[in-house]
């Protein structure tokens, strides 16, 4: 299909870059096209918290000028969206919380700086679960995001706004963050490709902290190739992030077409119904098995493996993540920035009422659980115990990667659920992340690829790689997407308020 037969938003980033270089259209035209789509469709989806049209057009014009003088960066003129957890100088950075509703960041996150330096255009800030705590995007202060495939359903979370915006083609790609599955789970539920890199691969500077030993930023896009283009810009050492890893960044696009001949794929028996009672939807299991057959056809070999501590990942995570969150979120005290209650009678009242009024229910629950787990008399029984189990979970993966190159399974046990369906019981919601959480505990990279449909809603194949094997995951993902078209399927959008089907 030639470029002329398709609308601008249907092109991949690789195709948009070629077309921009060939002067088929300008970045300003491309940016205006996306802004018009946001205007037309986002009132229904609510995928953006803040749209920055003036800044976007200004950046697009700068990218067009750079192209004219031959100084264009790697993503010059490509319209992206930033999850509203990344600090953006002069633009509200809310983390989807009332606490930061009035927070205009005085600095840029390193990831934002890097995209700016590469010439990318930022269309705005995407919606998310409050402080990235959630799996449905229902905990946002700015209201839930709707899944573009079925607006009665959630897009997943916490990067639900980024996933919905990419799926609805309201940006070319977006950033996400992943503490327990927050890139991969919404990517699966919205039918897009999302990569959670190795812990420390992408700078966390200016990325508002939730659980610092687990948090990692990454790309959300419509293909593995586009994720590779974003990773080339995002990844790398940052001296301003004390956990950033000093290690050279490869060109992630250079290995995309490598052969998969001899690739060893491990299937953890604990991830499938034949192994345990995991609650996996049969349609998802079938879709994943079909995709694994495709990978076998491309030359991969399959081996059953075991990750014996799988069922401990969710309980382990729900000690460590709340403990770290209770520490990180102590900075929101109503004194230096953010929300402050009216007429505090003393300092204790100022702190405790600002935090009660500024934080939502799920955030407060996690702070309380974390404070409890770290309090005198309980820290060994909860926090230290969870850190020991965390090592057992990591050792499962280390042993598995002696035998295989990549571990494959479903990203989620079920497709997108209805708004409100799981919000009444936190523990039910937590089990949504059963396949994704162990990856964060171990610090490994993993990718979610669109792999079919269940109940007419997209589902994801998760591939887990060894440390720093993002290139391998993108390679396998790209080859898979050369022989399948799940990633090219797009939802039929309805114009906001009118119910008219989009062209």
């Amino acid at each position: 299909m030639s470029l002329h037969d398709r609308s601008l938003h249907e092109l991949t980033i690789a195709e948009q870059l070629q077309a921009l270089a060939a002067k088929k259209f300008s970045s300003e035209e491309l940016t205006l096209h996306y802004l018009a789509r946001i205007e037309k469709y986002d009132a229904q989806l609510n995928s953006y918290i803040t749209i920055t049209p003036e800044l976007a057009i200004e950046a697009a014009r700068a990218a067009d000028a750079a192209r004219a003088t031959g100084t264009a960066g790697a993503l010059a003129g490509i319209p992206l969206a930033q999850k509203d957890i990344f600090c953006t100088l002069g633009v509200r950075t809310s983390c989807a919380s009332k606490m930061l509703d009035n927070f205009i960041s005085p600095y840029n996150a390193t990831v934002v700086e890097k995209f700016n330096a590469a010439g990318a255009v930022c269309l705005g800030k995407t919606n998310m679960d409050e402080f990235a705590m959630g799996s449905s995007n229902e905990s946002s202060f700015y209201g839930p995001v709707k899944n573009p495939w079925n607006t009665d359903c959630v897009p997943g979370g916490s990067s639900g706004g980024s996933a919905a915006a990419v799926a609805a083609q309201l940006c070319a790609a977006a950033t996400g963050t992943d503490t327990g599955g927050s890139i991969r789970q919404p990517a699966a539920l919205c039918g897009i490709t999302g990569l959670k890199p190795t812990y420390g691969r992408v700078s966390r500077y200016g990325m508002i902290a939730f659980a610092s030993s687990l948090d990692q930023g990454g790309p959300m896009a419509r293909s593995a190739e586009d994720c590779a283009l974003l990773m080339n810009v995002m990844a790398g050492f940052d001296e301003r992030d004390s956990t950033s890893v000093q290690r050279a960044v490869p060109d992630y696009t250079s290995v995309l077409n490598n052969s998969l001949e001899g690739l060893r794929i491990g299937l953890p028996k604990e991830y499938f119904n034949s192994g345990t009672d995991s609650g996996l939807t049969p349609e998802i299991e079938r879709a994943v098995q079909t995709s694994i057959k495709e990978l076998e056809n491309l030359g991969a070999t399959i081996k059953e493996i075991s990750l014996p501590h799988t069922e401990l990942a969710v309980p382990c995570y729900y000690v460590i993540a709340p403990a770290e969150c209770s520490s990180n979120l102590s900075r929101f005290d109503g004194v230096r920035y953010g929300y402050r209650c009216t007429d505090p009678k003393d300092l204790f009242d100022l702190y405790s009422r600002s935090r009660d009024e500024g934080f939502g229910e799920e955030v407060k629950r996690r702070i309380l659980v974390g404070t409890y787990a770290l309090s005198a008399g309980f820290v060994d029984a909860y926090y230290r115990k969870a850190q020991q189990v965390r090592r057992l979970i990591q050792q499962d993966f280390v042993a598995a990667f002696n035998e295989v190159d990549v571990i494959a399974g479903p990203t989620t046990p079920s497709p997108a659920f209805k708004l409100g369906e799981k919000s009444s019981d936190p523990v039910t919601m937590y089990l949504e992340d059963i396949y994704t959480i162990a990856v964060n505990l171990a610090g490994l990279p993993a990718i979610s690829l669109p792999t079919g449909f269940a109940d007419n809603k997209p589902v994801g194949l998760q591939l887990i790689g060894n440390y720093f094997a993002e290139d391998k995951l993108l390679n396998v993902g790209h080859r898979f997407q050369q022989v399948t078209d799940w990633h090219r399927r797009t939802p039929a959008l309805h114009k906001s308020g009118t119910g008219v089907r989009a062209a």
Partner: protein, 95 residues
């Protein structure tokens, strides 16, 4: 381990989060469910297993003790809820 409303009140005080007395029973039940779920960890034998706080067991990186940040006092005070003469204002702490 079971959790009582009095435990929640104590923890809320430590966490500096005001709790409405009406919300206490439901909050206790929900946190109790979460703690019951994580109690599965207690059955695991972790004798001799070193706690893991970083995937690479990395140590904190040190940098030279040199000034690297520029003065942003005005920009930082501009986003504070209440300031006076270049200082953050809070209710009176000392009588």
């Amino acid at each position: 381990m079971t959790i009582e409303p009095a435990d929640i009140e104590k923890v809320a005080k430590l966490a500096r989060i005001r709790i409405d007395a009406d919300d206490l029973p439901e909050l206790t039940a929900r946190l109790g469910n979460i703690l019951a779920m994580v109690d599965k960890l207690q059955a695991v034998d972790t004798t001799g297993i070193a706690p893991m706080s970083n995937p690479f067991d990395a140590e904190q990186r040190l940098r030279p003790d040199a000034v690297t940040e520029v003065d942003q006092r005005d920009a930082l005070l501009a986003i504070a809820p209440k300031t006076e003469q270049g200082l953050f204002l809070v209710p009176k702490v000392i009588e």
